[in-house]
């Protein structure tokens, strides 16, 4: 600022804030939970089998959370995820589908999920429906359809198709296959969001749709694809839940939408769109899963669990020192 050039004066304000390590609050919350785990149940918590169990539990909803992160960064919301997952699992386990073998079952789940997601996207982009309402309608309708297809019964994966169940039972390097599927989805999601034009445009579509439109981005098509992506994730999650429970059922994924949205928001993604990260969402989800795990290990009764969970959420968020989240 001592040089007399005009640019030097202009330079000062351009320097941004320093010391804003991302997700530091989330990691701190996780560490704190781990300490609580170690303190209360030293013999159980840090065992490898318990950690594997946490990851396996997180897998299904984790995959959904990846899709949800895209939708929310893109300025939308998807309430239908749990129901779409249920519908996919039911469709993939009907007798008709099962007769074609596991590959077709997986394909079926993924296609049904993607299809439902694209319908959401279409209603929102071209029907101009508010995302909350369009996906709520899908939630309701998909559950109804799933009940109808399954005759309100739980459909078992048949012996001939146990290849699917092996996703859950087969372990590689100590981890069940479904954890690898989860990891793969997270990795692909991260790459898609951070390293491709699709991902970067997602931020534009969510953060400033008018600017995105003026920059020549087809905002409607992009929005539609985002919901399709979320549906695709639900389809993959359906395969995982089939593996874990050996069934397809219209009751799968009840209230997953709330958990997934909560994980995404705790992870620092703005509900208004345009900001957020996959890693944050996954950390947010892990916090929820570890809380549940701690409760299981400590055998708390339901009421106390709920009260404790509410308090922990508040503390975790206040710890996160929401700098980036709030204005003013």
């Amino acid at each position: 600022m001592t040089e007399a050039t005009p640019t030097s004066v202009a330079r000062r304000p351009f320097l941004g804030r320093i010391g804003e390590v991302p997700h530091v609050g989330l990691v701190a919350a996780l560490v704190l939970l781990a300490i609580v785990g170690l303190a209360t149940r030293p013999e159980n918590f840090a065992t490898s089998s318990n950690l594997v169990s946490i990851l396996a539990l997180a897998s299904t909803i984790g995959v959904i959370t990846v899709g949800m992160t895209f939708v929310i960064i893109g300025g939308g919301i998807d309430l239908s995820v749990g129901a779409v997952m249920a519908l996919s699992s039911v469709w993939a386990t009907t007798l008709a589908t099962q007769s074609y073998g596991p590959v077709v079952m997986i394909l079926c789940a993924v296609l049904v999920g993607t299809g439902a997601g694209l319908v959401n996207g279409f209603l929102i982009s071209y029907g101009r429906m508010v995302p909350f309402i369009a996906t709520l309608a899908m939630l309701v309708a998909a559950r109804g359809l799933a009940q109808r297809m399954s005759g309100q019964r739980t459909q078992l994966v048949q012996q001939a198709n146990t290849a699917i169940v092996e996703l859950s039972t087969t372990r590689v390097l100590g981890l069940p296959l479904l954890v690898y599927v989860f990891a793969l989805v997270v990795a692909l999601g991260w790459i898609l969001l951070n390293r491709t034009t699709f991902g970067r445009r997602t931020y534009a579509v969510g953060g400033n749709p008018e600017a995105a439109r003026l920059a020549g981005i087809d905002v409607r098509r992009h929005t539609m694809l985002l919901y399709g992506l979320s549906g695709l994730c639900c389809g993959i999650a359906a395969v995982l839940i089939m593996a874990r429970t050996t069934t397809g059922s219209s009751t799968h994924g009840d209230l997953y939408e709330l958990d997934a949205i909560a994980a995404v928001i705790i992870g620092g993604t703005l509900l208004s769109g345009g900001r957020g990260t996959i890693i944050g969402s996954i950390l947010g989800l892990l916090i929820f899963t570890v809380i549940t795990n701690l409760f299981i290990l400590n055998g708390l009764n339901t009421s106390d669990q709920l009260i404790a969970k509410g308090l922990i959420i508040v503390v975790a968020v206040l710890m996160q020192r929401r700098g980036a989240l709030t204005g003013t």
């Binding site: 640019t7 202009a10 351009f14 941004g16 390293r195 931020y203 534009a204 995105a212 020549g216």
Partner: protein, 510 residues
């Protein structure tokens, strides 16, 4: 400087453009002709239709009637992409950046450098860095999130984006509104550079002296119609203004009244400090006095206003009529008789979806209510009176404020603080984006308020405005008041010297 010879075919011709919005005819038969390599200025009052016209040119709006010709060929600009393909790049009046993306990503948004959908980040950053350097701002890191940049830097990024298109026609809608003096000079250097390469520039600004400096030809719009096409930029100001406004308005400031004895002190600020932004700011404003704060963008003037207003916590003391103003509580400040017209009207002042009336009465709801119960008739009457008094157009107080043009929105913000004799009015860039005619009206209004005994603290990046309107000027540099003098004792050069630390004589002051 003379542009291409007059006989060459125009690069762009727009003919008989009509654009209707619900309830308004924004454009009612506009013609425009731009030649390659020239700077073509578009002038007109607030709401004349300038932004609408260039949005049509950018493919963001579709005209209801009329045709657009490029190199004599009719073209259809159905989407922004179509316009860009034709070599038309636009810097919009409202910042159109995505806060969550980096500088480089914003610059290349929509035409990213990518292979198979994967962005080539190294290349993108390089391109962005090159463009920024060309704009004289190599210090903006291409990887920073745009949301962290101050408004002036955002404006630079917008410009870099327009340049990234290799356009043959660049449209700039009030690019200088958010820029300080030195930045404008820099902008002009770039404009000269690109026009020398044969690129045409359509330039919109309400600052007539800029037009004179950079423009080649002028087209004037009034109420959605062209009233003059392709005048030389040397046309006398008076004539231009009367074309725009339909009457003779001088770009003049209302006369200062003769000092009438010792007037009571309204505002006293003592040792006001916000660490890292400004420090130890002390001054006072008397009743009926207009005090101007001059300084560069980023010197901390807005922050001083906000701290005085109580919208920002600061150490030090603020006294209004001898009473301490509690920090961080705007409600108390408003009750004590302060009003702030902030610098970014859309983000900080307006409820865009709401009516003009509701925007005007927002700060004084209690005045139209008994025990919390609104007297809507009185409210409407008051709003209608203010709309008329400030000549807000269209004069319909029930219209959503977002459908007003920028300058008229600014008037609505000012109107909010005119509802009652006030003690202190804090004006931050009150004429940003306001047309010449309206400016003169605003100056008159401010002076009239002062004459009625209101104290006024004014921030403006336009030095002539500070010198012309204020009674006394405080020069702010890097968060400190470095000089204080009656406005009549200063001139533009002297102020610029002071704000830019170009003389050693001043550097020992702080």
């Amino acid at each position: 400087m003379p542009a291409s010879p007059p006989d060459t075919a125009p690069l762009l011709t727009m003919r008989g453009i009509v654009k209707r919005f619900p309830g308004v005819r924004a454009l009612d038969g506009v013609d425009l002709e731009v030649r390659a390599g020239e700077v073509h200025c578009l002038l007109g009052q607030n709401g004349a239709g300038k932004s609408t016209l260039i949005k049509i040119l950018a493919g963001a709006h579709q005209p209801d009637e009329g045709e657009v010709l490029l190199d004599g060929e009719p073209v259809r600009l159905a989407t922004p992409t179509a316009a860009m393909r034709q070599g038309i790049a636009t810097i919009y009046q409202e910042l159109d950046l995505v806060d969550g993306l980096s500088v480089a990503e914003n610059i290349l948004l929509g035409h990213e450098r990518a292979s198979f959908g994967f962005t080539r980040r190294g290349e993108s950053n390089r391109i962005a860095a090159d463009l920024l350097r060309r704009l004289g701002h190599g210090e903006i890191p291409p990887g920073t999130e745009v949301g962290r940049l101050p408004p002036a830097a955002k404006q630079i990024v917008s410009m870099a984006r327009a340049l990234s298109h290799d356009a043959r026609l660049i449209v700039m809608d009030e690019p200088s509104a958010a820029l300080a003096h030195d930045e404008v000079a820099n902008l002009f250097r770039i404009i000269r550079e690109i026009t020398a390469q044969g690129v045409a520039v359509v330039y919109i600004s309400h600052r007539l002296e800029e037009i004179r400096e950079i423009g080649d030809r002028i087209t004037v719009l009034k109420d959605g119609r062209t009233v003059a096409v392709g005048l030389p930029a040397t046309t006398p100001t008076g004539r231009v203004v009367s074309l725009m406004t339909g009457r003779d308005v001088e770009y003049v400031f209302p006369p200062r009244p003769a000092p009438s004895g010792e007037r009571p002190e309204v505002l006293r600020v003592e040792g006001l400090t916000v660490p890292g932004v400004f420090s130890d700011v002390s001054f006072s404003v008397r009743a009926g006095e207009i005090v101007g704060l001059a300084g560069l963008v980023g010197s901390g003037r807005s922050e001083i206003l906000e701290a005085v207003y109580g919208a920002r916590r600061a150490s030090g003391r603020v006294l209004l009529d001898g009473r301490a103003v509690p920090p961080g509580r705007t409600a108390a400040s408003v009750r004590l008789g302060m009003g702030l017209a902030p610098e970014e009207r859309k983000a900080q002042a307006l409820l865009l979806d709401q009516s003009v009336t509701r925007n005007i009465t927002l700060a004084g709801l209690g005045r139209y209510a008994r025990a919390g119960w609104m007297d809507r008739r009185r409210e409407a009457a008051e709003a209608a009176r203010l709309v008329e008094a400030l000549d807000i157009r269209p004069p319909d107080p029930r219209r959503p404020v977002k459908t007003l043009s920028g300058g008229n929105q600014q008037k609505a913000v000012l109107a909010r603080w005119l509802v009652e004799p006030r003690r202190l009015l804090l004006l931050d860039e009150p004429t940003r984006g306001v047309d010449v005619g309206a400016r003169a009206e605003l100056y008159a209004v401010v002076r009239r308020l002062a004459d009625e005994g209101v104290a006024v603290l004014l921030v403006s990046s336009e030095v002539p405005e500070v010198l012309g309107l204020a009674d006394r000027v405080l020069v702010v540099r890097e968060g400190r008041i470095v000089h204080e003098a009656p406005a009549v004792e200063l001139d533009e050069h002297r102020v610029l010297d002071l704000v830019m630390v170009s003389t050693n004589e001043e550097s020992h002051v702080d």
